[in-house]
């Protein structure tokens, strides 16, 4: 791939070793990866070079990842930003989605995990550029709480809620060949892993739970037919039912569909 078509990625982390490692993990023929060791540097570099994707650590001295996200989004709303988060900052990560981050990835992670995320982000940009629109029938119905580009949640009676994956996410994924769902009785935390998808390109995608709670039911139909997920993501394609544990708090991290 020639230099011009190469995607420009900026990795931001205050620790050079980490920065280098991440750069190496995503470096490929298709990507040109730069590094910045602070939020300030990142902003400066972005001025010079319009990056297609910025991968930033959340917790940094000076301008934090969140600050960086906010100023980049302000300047150029279509910028793709992936947040790297430590476990203690998962709440902030969820919030970053609300503000406009494409996704986040908790430390430590494997190169493959990051690569699939990067891949997905470009896929999403591509589809946006192509002007692909979601078919009418799979537009998100109103009254759903959702993490942008991730999961949705539909509260039912008795504190029980349906959880599923939003179409935006699925659009960026190839043909699903494996779906790992939680087990009944598993406890989940908001923003943490609840399901994994592997597509035909062997990319593994991690799906974050929209809320905390206990899994009470699994969509067995989905286990037999993964295509339902893409065909009917908001109804028959639900993943599991959750017995909500901390809904009042969790809902603040979500948006409500109109």
């Amino acid at each position: 791939m020639d230099e011009k078509n190469k995607k420009k990625i900026l990795v931001v982390d205050d620790e050079i070793t980490v920065c280098k490692s991440i750069r190496q993990a995503i470096l490929s023929d298709d990507y040109e990866v730069d590094m910045a060791l602070s939020g300030e540097e990142a902003l400066k570099k972005d001025e010079d070079k319009q990056y297609d994707l910025i991968v930033t650590d959340l917790m940094m001295p000076g301008i934090t990842g969140m600050d960086l996200l906010k100023s980049l989004k302000k300047k150029k709303p279509e910028t793709n930003i992936i947040m790297i988060t430590g476990y203690p900052t998962i709440k902030t990560a969820v919030e970053s989605i609300k503000i406009g981050a494409f996704d986040y990835i908790p430390k430590p992670f494997t190169p493959a995990e990051l690569r699939s995320l990067v891949f997905r982000s470009f896929k999403k940009s591509e589809s946006l550029e192509k002007g692909e629109e979601a078919p009418l029938e799979i537009k998100m119905p109103s009254g759903l709480h959702f993490m942008i580009g991730h999961t949705w949640l539909r509260p039912e009676e008795n504190n029980i809620a349906f959880v599923g994956v939003v179409f935006d996410f699925l659009q960026t994924v190839g043909e699903i060949i494996y779906l790992e769902l939680p087990k009944i009785n598993d406890s989940l935390n908001q923003g943490e892993l609840c399901a994994k998808i592997i597509d035909d390109e062997k990319f593994s995608y991690r799906i974050w739970s929209p809320a905390s709670g206990r899994v009470v039911e699994i969509n067995k139909v989905l286990g037999k037919d993964y295509s339902l997920l893409k065909k009917d993501p908001y109804k028959q394609g639900w993943l599991f039912k959750l017995d909500l544990a901390n809904w009042e708090e969790d809902r603040k991290g979500l948006l409500l569909s109109k």
């Binding site: 070793t17 490692s21 190496q24 476990y87 203690p88 430590p108 992670f109 494997t110 190169p111 598993d186």
Partner: protein, 662 residues
């Protein structure tokens, strides 16, 4: 004053019944004594005035007898003097006939003297001593009046000279030796030779009324007891009281007893004794009658004295009557005794009545007191059975009500006490739990802060390692001799990441991710992970794991972490090798799965047991000191229990109880 106060105090200390009885007794006795005193005095006065009235009346009777005697003498003398025969004999100067006739009259009428004088008052014929005549009697007050043609009678003192004229015998009768008498007026003479006589004189007149002669006669009263005995006979009818004459009468010549039936100690008539000075003064000097009790000779009498006067109204003696006082005294005493007896009987009856009245007051009170004591002893079920409606009845009702209220209040209190104890225990337990929780929370909070920092710091190197390991794996391929080593690095890095995640989760109190698993599998899996480690090289692991335990709902990763920690700890307690016994079975009450890790290592000193689960507590010099704290948190999250038993030098047992149902 002090004594009075002491008396008051001891009186106030007496039982109520005694107080009542003493008070009433005092009132009754005071009343009784007053009544008795006034009654006795009144009775005495009444009896005495009655007696006085009687004695006054008796004196009148005595006077009647006395005057009757005097009048009869006067009649005898008048009738004799007016006899025709006497007149004719005198006319014819027949002296012998006169003497014979007059002597007969004198003897017939028991006269002591009967004498005839001529018209000049010279004695013409003296019947007692016919030879002595011619002496002048005209100076005699009676003869003097008779000479003036008047018939008179009177009591008269006759000198011894005149008595001797009538004969020695008469003079001797009048003679009396005066006996010294106590209470009498001072005595100046030792004898009395004058006599006292009832005397009457009457003239003999001719047809022209000219006095021819005077006839006079008399009865000597000295030692003649006719009058007094008659008085006694008539007035007192000879009544005797206990061998003594009730009534007595006396004629005094001046103050000397000359005729009496008062007896002296020898039982003889007490003539020759004298009247008391008091009476003598009143009667003889002042001429007043005397009526009072008096000591006569040797007994108390109720007496009446009145002066005897001669024809010239001069006081010459005393007439006396007396009643023995003893019958009256005895009567009075009898009345008094009866009265007193009745009073005593009344007091006794009153006391009996009082006793019952007081009892009817005291007994209910006693029941109240008894009930009070019962209550004081803590018996609140006691009830007073009093049904009447007086003050005590009301008291009893109030008391019962009070007792009931008290009982209710007490029960409430007891109930309170009981529940309070329970509540306090409950509260204390909760507080203890809270405190434990707080302490643990504080520890965990600091652990959390630390863990967050640590996680961030460790995550970065871990990220680098993980990425680089994976990149190496991608480059080398599976056939490369280092492939396995590098994948081990990658895997272990992931595990590190999981441990950090677990630590963070624990510090953030994240709910465990539970699922139903087999305890056996968890234990076996943990053993498998560890048994090939160097630390377990010399350690023999013995399994005592029950094969029929139900599946248990827990976060297997967390529990594995706990088991891991405990096993690592056990291995460190046995640096030179030993035996680790892992047992797991259903608890007796079938509510828990009980898993224990028993080593025979160095054991834990007692002072360290309480600190074991503190974050960062370590004795090993190596490690973080988080292992047991994290384990403790995980077990608590599972509502389980973790127990330690250790003897220094003998080894330790860590037992974990995990509930089958939440």
């Amino acid at each position: 004053m002090v004594i009075f106060k002491r008396f008051c105090r001891s009186f106030l200390n007496l039982p109520l019944r005694a107080k009542f009885i003493l008070s009433f007794l005092a009132v009754i006795c005071l009343g009784g004594i007053l009544t008795l005193t006034f009654g006795t005095r009144l009775e005495h006065k009444t009896i005495f005035s009655l007696a006085q009235a009687k004695v006054r009346h008796d004196l009148a009777s005595a006077w009647m007898v006395y005057n009757e005697k005097l009048n009869s003498l006067k009649d005898i003398i008048r009738l004799t003097s007016s006899r025709e025969s006497l007149y004719s004999a005198l006319k014819q100067d027949k002296e012998e006939i006169l003497l014979k006739y007059l002597s007969r009259v004198r003897e017939e009428f028991n006269l002591d003297i009967l004498t005839l004088t001529d018209a000049q008052g010279k004695v013409f014929l003296r019947t007692t001593q016919p030879d002595i005549k011619g002496d002048d009697q005209s100076k005699d007050p009676l003869v003097k009046r008779a000479l003036k043609n008047e018939t008179v009678s009177s009591t008269q003192i006759i000198p011894r000279k005149e008595l001797l004229k009538e004969g020695n015998e008469l003079a001797e009768r009048a003679y009396l030796e005066i006996i010294p008498t106590p209470k009498a007026a001072p005595q100046y003479e030792y004898y009395e030779e004058k006599g006292m006589m009832l005397k009457a004189a009457s003239p003999l007149v001719d047809e022209n009324g000219v006095v021819l002669a005077v006839l006079y006669g008399g009865i000597l009263l000295n030692k003649s007891h006719e009058i007094v005995d008659r008085v006694k006979e008539i007035v007192y009818k000879g009544e005797k009281y206990k061998g003594r004459e009730i009534g007595t009468a006396t004629i005094f010549q001046h103050d000397l007893r000359i005729s009496t039936n008062v007896k002296n100690v020898n039982g003889e008539r007490a003539i020759g004794t004298r009247v008391s000075n008091e009476v003598s003064q009143a009667v003889l000097k002042e001429g007043k009658p005397w009526i009072d009790r008096a000591f006569v000779v040797n007994d108390w009498y109720i007496t009446a004295y009145e002066p005897i006067k001669n024809v010239d109204m001069e006081i010459i003696g005393i007439l006396y009557v007396g009643m023995l006082e003893k019958p009256y005294i005895d009567l009075r005493n009898e009345v008094m005794i009866t009265f007193s007896g009745m009073a005593v009987l009344c007091v006794f009856l009153l006391l009996v009545l009082l006793f019952f009245i007081i009892s009817s007051i005291i007994n209910p009170l006693k029941r109240v007191v008894f009930a009070t004591n019962k209550i004081a002893q803590g018996d609140l079920s006691h009830k007073i059975e009093i049904n009447f409606q007086d003050e005590i009845g009301q008291l009893a009702q109030s008391f019962n009500q009070m007792t009931l209220d008290l009982k209710k209040a007490n029960q409430k209190l007891i109930h309170w006490g009981k529940t309070l104890e329970k509540r306090v225990k409950e509260r204390t337990r909760k507080l203890q739990e809270m405190q434990d929780y707080l302490i643990q929370s504080e520890k965990l909070a600091s652990l959390g802060k630390m863990a967050a920092g640590v996680a961030h710091e460790i995550n970065n190197p871990l990220t680098s390692i993980l990425i680089n390991a994976h990149l190496m794996l991608e480059k080398t391929g599976e056939k490369h001799p280092f492939f396995e080593n590098i994948s081990l690095v990658a895997d272990e890095t992931s595990r590190c990441s999981d441990i950090v995640k677990g630590m963070l989760e624990f510090s953030r109190q994240n709910p465990p991710k539970k699922s139903y698993v087999s305890m056996n599998e968890i234990i076996e899996h943990t053993i498998k992970l560890l048994e090939n480690q160097v630390a377990f090289k010399d350690i023999q692991i013995i399994r005592k794991i029950s094969s029929n335990m139900p599946q248990i709902n827990l976060d297997k990763d967390k529990i594995k972490q706990v088991f891991w920690n405990l096993m690592i700890n056990a291995s460190e307690a046995m640096p030179r090798g030993g035996t680790l016994t892992i047992s797991s079975n259903l608890s007796k009450d079938k509510k828990y799965i009980e898993t224990s890790f028993e080593d025979d290592g160095v054991g834990i000193p007692e002072e360290n047991i309480n600190k074991l689960f503190d974050p960062f507590f370590t004795t090993k010099g190596v490690g973080t000191g988080l292992g047991l704290a994290v384990s403790y948190g995980i077990i608590k999250q599972h509502q389980g229990k973790i127990k330690v038993k250790s003897d220094a030098g003998q080894g330790s047992v860590f037992t974990i109880l995990l509930p089958l149902t939440e």
